[in-house]
Subunit: 409 residues, 2 copies
Amino acid sequence: MAILYGNAVVGQSGGPSSAINATLSGVIRGCLAANDTIGTLYGMQNGLEGLLAERLVNLRERIKGEDDLRCLETTPAAALGSCRLKLPNPLKERSIFDKVRAVFEKYNIRYFFYIGGNDSMDAVAKLTAYFREVEYEVRIIGVPKTIDNDLVGTDHAPGFPSAAKYVATTVKEIVRDCAVYTVPAVTVIEIMGRDAGWLATAAALPSLTGGGPDYIFLPERPFSPSTFLELLRKALATHPTVVVAVSEGCLFENGHYVGEGQQNGLSDVFGHRYLSGTGKVLEMLVKQELKCKARSIELSLPQRCAAHIASLTDIRESVAIGRCAVKEALAGAYGCMVGFKRTSNSPYTVEIVTVPVDTVANEVRFVPSSFINEAGNGVTEECIAYLRPLIEGEVKPVYEYGMPKHFVL
Amino acid sequence: MAILYGNAVVGQSGGPSSAINATLSGVIRGCLAANDTIGTLYGMQNGLEGLLAERLVNLRERIKGEDDLRCLETTPAAALGSCRLKLPNPLKERSIFDKVRAVFEKYNIRYFFYIGGNDSMDAVAKLTAYFREVEYEVRIIGVPKTIDNDLVGTDHAPGFPSAAKYVATTVKEIVRDCAVYTVPAVTVIEIMGRDAGWLATAAALPSLTGGGPDYIFLPERPFSPSTFLELLRKALATHPTVVVAVSEGCLFENGHYVGEGQQNGLSDVFGHRYLSGTGKVLEMLVKQELKCKARSIELSLPQRCAAHIASLTDIRESVAIGRCAVKEALAGAYGCMVGFKRTSNSPYTVEIVTVPVDTVANEVRFVPSSFINEAGNGVTEECIAYLRPLIEGEVKPVYEYGMPKHFVL
């Protein structure tokens, strides 16, 4: 493989996470180390949206050194900004791709790193197809990121372990809080996860020390209101405070989302329906049918931005996978996504591999059956064994004024 | 003052906090150090409710040493359990007080420490009045605790600084998260505070590093929907993502709670009306009137139980005030609450003082006018100077399986 000299551009796309900036740091570290091959590293502001508008920042100039990189690694959300731009089919609508090409030519871009989830991998696949066809050599690589953990082609997605650590810690704290009263009460904790219940499985982790929720419901296992109420009655008969963790995307057996009644009817540009109120609907159901105290708690945005409690394992891996994306590109890879392959649970070891991005784009990886208990209201030992190593280790952000310091570009 | 030999009992009451167990630890440390005077230290399970049922645990036996105490200090919620028992007027209904007296006599209780908020101080005042009248010598001391910070007689209440640190950190993280997109959007963050807006003022702290919300609304300053919308329009004209922090107890100018429309109509045993949905109501208002993306986030229970991000200042002070309560009781104090008197903002210094509990019970301390800006949509420098030292310092809980370890009695 011939050495490809030129500049690089990196972007972040989709929903933010606590680790996406660690991945950005990894890409920056990788490019800085390859300064004999990669000239300038540009950051696209707000992903492809910014690339098209030529809103590019020179990251070599903006990142002053190791302190900045370390601070970036514990800063939540996307330092470069994000977007939710859906690229059209390159065979049908070429103008947007031609514009990308014009920018690439103008800035001599030969390396393109896009950090994101399913939708971003779709962009990587389409850009790869286009540039292959027009015979412009650019090594386009997708770097995974999603707290939803629903990307195929990787053992887990960077960002998920930190979100899982937040969920595990917060559920543990809420369970402790709920335990102080003797009055029968049901607390429903709503956890992010539109299609797949990965993040809600992390609610099982506090059970390792005897402080977990009574039940966990995932989108993978629809349930009926009567089953739900029956389980709660059973739990309330043995202890007064019952805690239930549910994915926002949970379904009733009739195929409707639990939160559907609370929906605002809107959908985003990708056609995903906005869900909210799954916990609220179940809270109302409990109040109405069991006549006991009930409340719902939506863990909401902190799941993806509570970087102060990020998983050290996640942050380290996110930096490593960013670096590796650059290394793979330098070695000739393109049209692929870097991902993790787990080689052992205990001791926990992963390898970084590449997978063709068109096998990843627009696929959803669900929680496997072997991770869900038979009754569909909790997880298995196998699931716990998968999750456990991911949330190990604590980051040590720099604090200023009693709050974690963030790196702002 | 003659030395009073006998046993002691300690209880926790009202809503949990991240620091109430640190105060419990302080009381335990104080009693252990006074083992020439105080024989057994009992813990009442679920506060007065448990005392009346003689559900008492011997804390000397249950706490094995320094490791247990340290773990207790970073464990959220009330390790002894809590209750919301409202004592009647002792002049009118004596039976419950006679029952307390019978328990005191049976266990030779001469020291009574009650850790709680306004309602708990009401119990301390009533018990003091009763035992003074029946001439049973027992030194009844209230130890403050409330994340609401609305107790009079103390510069701030233990538990508030940790809740404030959680709010400041989380608002900072959410502001960062919101900043990644370019689409105009309003995010409303709902913060606990039924009557007083103390906790919402902490949302101003991220502004110290340029990442705070656009506006903060407190119950102390009712506003009109039109003013609210006008401010948002102004903010949206200068930047796409607008963040507003509101107290759950915010009022419209017509005197109605913003969240009233969303209320379930219930009130608790103290006659407080349950509020919820303040953020949701404002989200709806924005969607309807400004036709832009809007969402609301209720910070909910983690505000009072996210002990992993507790303020080290708070935890240290909470231990100290618990110890001091014992010291004061040994020196003859009774019928009082221990509290903080701030002697300097910079360097931050506090003294622990005692105040007569009947000047504290059933009073509410509001955010003073000098802490709120003229427009009533933010806080002043004086407020920031008050808050800043409280959230300084980070606790270092022991982690097991990637989650903070909790002490469970």
